[in-house]
């Protein structure tokens, strides 16, 4: 079922690690109109942090690139976050989604996708080697008095 798109915003930033915090804050700000609980907001921030970190660390291993975050609000209190890059791509998405799998150094835990999956309702990963990766996540917020959408 396709639900009605109520609003959206697109933010483009460089793959600098300082933008991880910016992306979390921007997504939380957009989600605030859904009158989320603190836990719901923390879930979104955590999932965004994981997806943006993947783009910064893995998509552009040796250069700066562009990361696009698209935030959408759908009828029924649904937030959709898409994090897209034009980087190296993921050769084997299924493998990449496995817990503890990482191609990164010891600063990475290999738990990013596991955390995105458990903190959001759905997670889709599309990737093409040499073209880039798009991670799309959705979460339905509990309807509370005063929420828009």
């Amino acid at each position: 079922m396709k639900s009605e798109l109520l609003d959206q915003t697109v933010i483009v930033f460089s793959s600098r690690s300082a933008n991880e915090g910016f992306a979390r804050a921007a997504a939380a700000c957009f989600a605030a109109r859904l009158d989320p609980t603190l836990d719901e907001l923390a879930d979104v921030k955590t999932a965004v942090s994981e997806a943006v970190t993947n783009a910064i660390v893995h998509a552009y291993p040796d250069r700066l690139g562009k990361v696009t975050m698209r935030l959408r609000l759908y009828a029924g209190n649904v937030l959709e976050v898409q994090i897209k890059d034009s980087g190296v791509g993921i050769p084997d998405v299924e493998k990449a989604r496995e817990p503890l799998y990482t191609t990164g150094n010891e600063e990475r835990s290999g738990m990013g996708f596991t955390i995105m999956e458990s903190f959001m309702d759905s997670l889709k990963v599309r990737s093409a080697v040499g073209k880039g990766t798009a991670v799309t996540m959705r979460k339905r917020f509990a309807r509370r008095a005063g929420a828009a959408g």
């Binding site: 690690s17 300082a18 991880e20 915090g21 979390r24 836990d39 923390a42 879930d43 921030k45 955590t46 942090s49 994981e50 970190t53 910064i56 660390v57 817990p99 010891e106 600063e107 990475r108 835990s109 290999g110 738990m111 990013g112 596991t114 955390i115 458990s118 903190f119």
Partner: protein, 101 residues
């Protein structure tokens, strides 16, 4: 400073604070690594009460501390875990490896 240290008997407590993401994790890892190498604690306690946000980069910080303390024959305990950090640690099953209070 993201790491503050206090001694309590045989246990060394390091209080981590602020947001632990990929951007800040490396500096925190290095700081903890230097602390462990300098003090050789038998029991290291990481106090997370001042952590305002943590993602999977924080897991890597804790696992690195565990490896280093382990090598010295010591133990690691993580305490005062805020709700958001607790959810991250639980989702990743970190409790199977590290004692979480």
């Amino acid at each position: 400073m993201p790491v503050t240290v206090t001694d309590e008997g045989s246990a060394l407590t390091a209080a981590l604070s602020g947001e632990i993401d990929h951007h800040g994790a490396k500096a925190m890892m290095n700081e903890l690594g230097e602390l462990i190498a300098a003090r050789l604690p038998r029991r290291l306690v990481l106090d997370l009460s001042g952590v305002t946000f943590m993602d999977s980069s924080g897991i890597a910080v804790l696992l690195r501390a565990l490896r280093e303390v382990d090598r010295l024959g010591g133990t690691l305990r993580v305490t005062n875990i805020p709700a958001q950090a607790r959810r991250v640690l639980d989702a990743a099953g970190v409790g199977r490896l590290i004692t979480l209070d």
